[in-house]
Symmetry: C2
Subunit: 121 residues, 2 copies
DNA sequence: GTAATTAACTTACTTTTGGTAAGTCAAAGG
DNA sequence: CCTTTGACTTACCAAAAGTAAGTTAATTAC
């Protein structure tokens, strides 16, 4: 204990944080979870499945996931256009950890919400 | 596959997301990681250890973590004030998963950054 | 007697993020 | 030739998050 605390100093510039920060946004984890449930999915199906995401944010989120190699985007040169998204192996390897976190949240949710309620009073 | 997709619809109202969203902010995970390394730490020591967090955000972050029962806050009624923060058992149980995620980020960081660079060109 | 110390809180301000609504594009169908 | 279709773009606006600087209190060290 009490060793190596310097690691945390100005963690902003730390590449690990650069990576982790990407999943702190509103939609990335959710989109990854949905794509983890299917072989692939088209844009509009994703849009309808999630329901309360805007087109713009779905586009932005998918682009980010794609740029990080977590999602693969396949365009079929047809009209009207068809674009399919699927999770990559890297995406799946991340999803495992995310699901562990979700499981934790699921198990602890109730007592956390109680804790919050108590705190506010 | 392709079953139970309704879970994701309007996930906004989902309590699991309510819990997970808390850790998507800029500082919560970092503060928890620091407190995971020591027995306890005072406010100013935390401030200096992290370096680039503002006082306000450190206060807000600590209050949130406290309200969720992840961090314990102990005030000593002295002047100048002394307040000690320590991670709780619940906080530790979360930290395990976070560390797994950090480990994943560490392992995949390089290829993700490459992936991003390639994507931008 | 005055400066420094500590952990806040407050205010005013700027930045970042996310949302809305409209428009684009190109071919096929009526 | 006008509408439909899917997957975006774009311009604009609102909300959330973050920053900087100032204020408070009683004791101690100068």
């Amino acid at each position: 204990m009490e060793n190596n605390l310097e690691i945390f100093s100005h963690f902003e510039e730390c590449p690990v944080r650069k990576v982790l920060n990407r999943f702190g946004d509103k939609w990335s984890i959710l989109v990854l979870m949905v794509l983890g449930e299917v072989d692939n999915m088209r844009f509009n199906k994703l849009h309808k499945t999630i329901g309360d995401i805007s087109q713009k944010m779905l586009t932005v989120t998918l682009r980010t996931l794609e740029s990080d190699g977590l999602v693969k985007r396949t365009v079929f040169p047809e009209i009207p256009p068809r674009v399919e998204y699927e999770i990559t192996d890297r995406g799946r390897s991340l999803l495992i950890h995310i699901n562990n976190l979700v499981e934790w949240a699921d198990e602890n949710m109730e007592s956390i919400l109680e804790s919050r309620a108590k705190f506010e009073s």
